[in-house]
């Protein structure tokens, strides 16, 4: 049986006046039904552009230049725009980071949750609204019958994020992509939203791509984790394995720099330098300049992902 989502060799580029920015440089990913895959990396590493590519929503001047994205065996990149619209928001849904800017301020939240149901399932306005009340109740919005008449600004950040999740779930998607779904929220509200996502994912056997930079959330929630750096996946493994046995120097450095692992008052581990310019010549390993174990050959060789333990892949020549 084909995987729920299988991305192979994805390359997404932005043609800028200053050069071609290679935002995603050959990403391979697989998501199975009921599985939560965490995609982790710092700003600019290409994680959000990877997500946008799956939905074919890369903003211009960005363009997918190579690779395939198979959703239950069907290549999304080969579909007509019309067929893609039937999948987007229906079978693959997205939860964005900032519920304030991703909800429309001039429509009620009930209307926005119901919109997908009217378009994709052809429900009447009344039936769609009844269903919207049901969905808002499911995501834990109290007195949902009254809340459907509210506009986004009348709700708190946590409630708006619940509305976003209700919208994403409206049509019963098979895959949900959540881009930093709790980053804008307080920790006690974040805990509530993550519990909710977990419960819904398990109940409905949906696949989830969770994009985040919060390693604590990843460790607690994801089945598998992929670490991105400069447009590439540099390491991927079952989550517990990745945190117990990180192999790529970038993953190791990232974990060592967390205050959670430092001794209070002592220095935290850091790496020098910054990420390479993605417009430049990117031969060899993009991490080499910041890498504590790299050598001359890392600058020239193209480095492939290698499986070093069952399901544990790493893109580094120095790892045996």
């Amino acid at each position: 049986m084909p995987a729920l989502l299988e991305i192979t060799g994805l390359r997404t580029e932005f043609r800028l006046k200053t050069g071609v920015l290679k935002a995603v440089r050959g990403v391979d990913l697989t998501v199975e039904p009921g599985e939560t895959l965490a995609l982790v990396g710092e700003s600019g590493c290409g994680k959000s552009i990877t997500a946008a590519s799956v939905l074919r929503l890369v903003p211009p001047p960005g363009r997918i230049v190579a690779g395939s994205i198979r959703f239950k065996g069907e290549d999304l990149l080969a579909l007509s725009e019309e067929r893609m619209r039937e999948i987007r928001g229906n079978r693959i849904a997205m939860v964005f980071q900032d519920p304030m800017t991703s909800l429309n301020p001039v429509f009620t939240v009930g209307f926005q949750v119901a919109e997908g149901l009217r378009i994709h399932r052809g429900l009447s306005a009344q039936a769609a609204e009844r269903e919207a009340v049901e969905l808002l109740t499911q995501v834990g919005i109290p007195a949902a019958k009254d809340r459907v008449k509210d506009y986004p600004h009348q709700l708190s950040g946590g409630m708006r994020q619940r509305v976003m999740i209700a919208m994403a779930l409206a049509c019963g998607p098979e895959l949900v992509i959540a881009d930093e779904p709790t980053t804008a929220l307080d920790v006690t509200i974040q805990a509530q939203i993550l519990e909710l996502l977990d419960r819904l994912m398990a109940e409905k056997r949906m696949g989830l791509i969770l994009i985040t930079h919060n390693l604590g959330i990843v460790a607690e929630r994801a089945h598998r984790t992929a670490i991105m750096y400069a447009g590439e996946i540099v390491e991927s493994a079952p989550t517990a394995e990745l945190f117990e046995n990180p192999l790529h120097p970038y993953t190791k450095g990232l974990l060592a720099s967390l205050p959670e692992f430092g001794t209070p008052g002592e220095k935290l581990a850091t790496f020098a330098g910054g990420v390479p310019d993605l417009r430049g010549d990117l031969a060899g390993c993009p991490f080499r300049e910041r890498c504590p174990i790299g050598d001359d050959a890392c600058e020239r060789e193209t480095i492939a992902m290698r499986e070093v333990a069952p399901g544990h892949l790493v893109r580094c020549r120095k790892v045996s």
């Binding site: 710092e42 700003s43 708190s156 946590g158 409630m159 307080d186 920790v187 006690t188 509200i189 974040q190 805990a191 509530q192 993550l194 519990e195 930079h213 919060n214 390693l215 604590g216 959330i217 460790a219 607690e220 929630r221 517990a240 945190f243 450095g253 990232l254 974990l255 720099s257 967390l258 205050p259 959670e260 692992f261 430092g262 209070p264 008052g265 220095k267 935290l268 581990a269 850091t270 790496f271 910054g274």
Partner: protein, 328 residues
Amino acid sequence: MTPLLTADNLVKQYPVRGGMFAEKRILTAVAGIDLELYPGETLGLAGESGCGKSTVARLLTGLTPPTSGSIKYEGRELARMSKSELAQYRKEVQMVFQDPFSSLNPRMRVAEILGEPLEIHRIGDAAGRRDKVAELLTRVGLSPEHMMRFPHEFSGGQRQRIGIARALAVSPRLIIADEPVSALDLSIQAQIINLLQDVKKDLGLSFLFITHDLSVLRHLSDRVAIMYLGRIVETGSRDQVLDRPLHPYTEALLSAIPSIDPGKRTRHVIAKGELPSPVAPPSGCPFHPRCPYAQPVCSEQRPELLEKVPGQRAACHFSEEIFLKETK
């Protein structure tokens, strides 16, 4: 030891209007807090958005006058300081802001950004100021060559370094840092945390460090105060508050943090519902509507912030029953 800075029953209220014909109401951002900050120590102030922690920073730096209560710096009351004393206060108490993008003037070069506080406080002549700016840049891990650049030419982490250099320019004794690393990427966050620690150690500064991130709080603070809805609900040493909390809100906050270390994952005590409005705070204990341990008395009587064990104070009627029963 006498405290460097003391806040006594500090209150800040703002009038808010619901709509054109709505009645004027009062939002109480800070509802009577006491704080003491000793020379050379780092006090970490934590809480979720809207708890009033940034208002506390604005009050302590003198950017906003309090509605009532007093702030004393080295025993002298801020409200009664003469103009020259106030100028001295503003020089000795500096601020580092959260957002390194909006807190630096985009039209000024780094040399002007760092030179301006020196000029205002009439420190040195033009040549001396230039040397001082070069020294400051080196101090925060940048290079004197960066002097003629504009803020947009720097990354977020570098900009935060400039923000720190600006605070250090006039040789302060106390730095109030409001979420200085929250806007930064993980690997950059560690660099800035290290820089703040170096600065503190080398210059013997006091710090008031405001954050919502408890792992950063643990790493940097000597003492900790937890705020909820305009009040301090718990305070004590870092290890006391973060390892043996005596307030249910601190416990909920700690257990809500996702942890990488499976050993650190405790049972999740999930705070129900959301932060109540500071315009209409709940009766009694402000946390009682969300508290898993709430009893009828909690909605009637507001618990005072009392010392429960030496050095650790909590505002909860049931600290003893909930948290201290095993140790007795």
